[in-house]
């Protein structure tokens, strides 16, 4: 993975010094609350219900074991012994004290980590495919480009005060695991007719109040133009994006109100004037690719016979293998999902002890690296098949082996009323209730690929609008109600879910979900996944069942 050079290290240390000064001025009353708010947000610091929340950047979801240990230490020393992985591969702390945040950031800087631009109206962390570099369906590893973009976005002097936040995602594989189409700029690595690899660039996607799917602005962009094209889009957005209404300030609204054709023409016009001044050289790309070379795989890893035996002997292991590990580019290896969706724990949460133990497992079994996923789980990407059984036992002992990846209990869930001052309704409690109702693993496995996303309010932190089943907390005269949508997706066939009907009360939400699953089981054709059934039969059968005698 990318290792900081002296310049990278200096930059994050100088950032800590800068923020320390800003915090001090705020505490001394020399910096106003509005000014400090903007500055602290660009260092990942929100103020929410109980305490500040700090979001730490994990560039494209890649972590070294020593960084995991630091996350554990920070959770222990500055928080309540746990932290929370987000849908953009970052990590959040819910309880740090404001005065101590500069110290916390200084500790992070010792392991090449920071919280720069993880919040606020600026260029955010660039996200990517958690299986980058190991999945068989990949055209090219997207991470070198992510790192190039990370550097370009970091402290970009022109784009630090945008109309609104700005998120970029890059994917290099056939299957989109990074929700690329729901980003302000989405980038797919593609091959053109001449066989050359370049980028397809999308713009104007985004979630939140008005979820919109991104549209292609450049079907094929040569690699050398990556940064100039991004800069052109950003300049057009910075100058023309709306600043009069924060709900209309995202680039998605600019693209929509301007029209795709005209927007694209403006970007092209800008780009043609700058593209030759900021070329990305082949040497630069090659040097960055050299930072992401594959680890030293054992050539004989696939000669192991123990795995087949364990799969035959141990049903529980076989289930975990099926759901929580996926095929690897290199024969004899698997990528292993570490489920952060244990039934009794808030989705995405992990404790310090678990983090430390996981760091050891990463060192022992996966070349010392861990990745975070868009669906709030972790991945050990390079596990030898001969190690899978032992690894499973160890993960299981840590409660990190719930065999539910990609199933209905692998929910995305925001903090909701428990932590967030903006929430209309609870989400963690509902997730727990749904888990309790679906405690039969065989049933869950039979249901298969169903993605439930649940947010406590319109801001949509948990991407409810693109969940196969979306649950949105709404406020009805001070009570917690839930709006259900069906048919959303953030994958290749990205779609915004349709409203099922009127919202349901808190005591009805879990039953509504189980009824939806019943309807699916009743109507599905052989091998038909939930989303396909919803597309085929429409919402009516679900409606009938959910609202029957409610």
């Amino acid at each position: 993975m990318y290792q900081y050079n002296e310049q990278d290290q200096t930059l994050i240390e100088e950032r800590v010094t800068q923020f320390r000064g800003q915090t001090q001025r705020f505490l001394n009353g020399e910096l106003g609350p509005d000014e400090f708010r903007a500055l602290r947000l660009m260092n990942g610091l929100y103020i929410q219900t109980h305490a500040p929340m700090l979001r730490v950047a994990i560039p494209y979801g890649l972590l070294a074991s020593r960084q995991l240990r630091m996350l554990a230490k920070v959770a222990r020393d500055y928080d309540k012994g746990y932290c929370h992985f987000t849908t953009r591969q970052n990590v959040q702390y819910n309880w740090p004290a404001l005065e101590r945040v500069p110290d916390l950031l200084a500790e992070l800087a010792t392991v090449q980590m920071h919280a720069i631009q993880t919040s606020g109206n600026c260029l955010r962390n660039t996200t990517s495919d958690h299986l980058a570099g190991v999945c068989p369906d990949e055209l090219e590893d997207p991470r070198p480009y992510c790192e190039i973009i990370r550097q370009w976005t970091t402290l970009h002097p022109e784009f630090a005060y945008l109309p609104r936040k700005f998120k970029i995602a890059v994917s290099g594989s056939e299957q989109d695991r990074a929700a690329v189409q729901l980003h302000d700029i989405g980038v797919y690595l593609v091959r053109n007719e001449e066989g050359r690899i370049g980028f397809r660039v999308l713009a104007g996607g985004g979630l939140g109040r008005t979820p919109i799917i991104g549209q292609t602005v450049k079907p094929f962009l040569e690699k050398k133009y990556l940064l100039s094209y991004l800069e052109a889009i950003l300049r057009v957005y910075n100058l023309l994006g709306r600043r009069d209404n924060k709900y209309k300030a995202r680039i998605k609204i600019l693209v929509k109100e301007t029209g795709l054709e005209k927007f694209t023409a403006m970007v092209e016009d800008e780009w043609l004037q700058i593209r030759d001044d900021m070329l990305l050289s082949e040497e630069r790309i090659a040097a960055m690719q050299a930072q992401f070379t594959p680890p030293a795989y054992e050539p004989t890893a696939n000669s192991d016979t123990g795995l087949a035996q364990h799969l035959a002997d141990d049903k529980a292991f076989a289930k975990w293998f099926k759901y929580n590990s996926v095929v690897h580019r290199v024969s004899g290896y698997r990528a292993v999902f570490v489920s952060l969706k244990a039934p009794d724990s808030p989705p995405g949460d992990i404790t310090s002890d678990q983090l430390d133990a996981l760091a050891n497992l990463a060192d022992a079994y996966s070349f010392g690296e861990v990745r975070s996923t868009h669906r709030q789980n972790l991945v050990l990407a390079d596990v030898k098949q001969a190690d899978l059984y032992t690894l499973w036992q160890k993960l299981d002992a840590l409660k990190l082996a719930t065999p539910n990846i990609g199933t209905v209990t692998d929910m995305i869930c925001c903090p909701g009323l428990d932590f967030c001052s903006l929430a209309n309704a609870g989400s963690i409690g509902v997730a727990r209730e749904i888990n309790e109702a679906l405690d039969d693993l065989d049933y869950i496995h039979d249901i298969g690929d169903v993605k439930i996303n649940m947010s406590g309010c319109m801001n949509g932190c948990a991407h409810q609008s693109v969940g196969h089943i979306g649950i949105l907390g709404v406020d009805k005269k001070g009570e917690e109600w839930y709006q259900i949508t069906l048919g959303g997706s953030s994958e290749n066939e990205a779609a915004i879910g349709d409203r099922l009907g009127p919202s349901v009360a808190k005591h009805q939400i879990t039953e509504s979900i189980t009824r939806i699953l019943d309807v699916y089981v009743q109507h599905r054709l052989e091998e038909e996944a939930f989303l396909q059934t919803v597309k085929r039969v429409g919402l009516e059968p679900f409606r009938e069942k959910v609202y029957a005698n409610h």
Binding site: Q7, T10, L11, E14, R15, T17, Q18, Q22, E30, E35, A38, L39, N121, Q151, W152, T154, L155, H156, P157, E158, F159, A160, Y161, L162, P163, R235, N238, L239, R243, Q273, D277, M278
Partner: protein
Amino acid sequence: MPIIKNQQILENTWTFVDDDAPLAGGDITVSVKRWTEDKPALLQHSGKVGVRLTPADNVAALGDDLPFIKLIELHFPTFSDGRTFSQARLLRSRYNYQGEIRAVGNYMTDQVFYLHRVGVDTFEFNDPKDMELALSAIKDFTVRYQASTY
């Protein structure tokens, strides 16, 4: 009010003249509107003449006039209006503007590092305390990622 120029605190010699006020003597700045409408008179002015841009002003509109404009003030109505940064960048890199670019209005000392990097070379602050802060903030970072000639 003093200004910062070349890492030094200097006296400001410029006056902004409101659209409906008569032209003052000495070095003055005017709005884009006044510049466009009163250009012949302004070119006869005895002192130097500059133009003050608001974030909504399109820098391309100044086009061929730039050689006659000795100072461009970029006015922040609020510190969060980041269009100013693109204006400065465009003035320097696209229109090759060689004169002085000054940040004025409601912005933060914490922004001078970025402003300096996009081509702003002088800074006016309402509060003298901010002067010392700004002098140090301009050097907040010794490293940078984006290629830049500034």
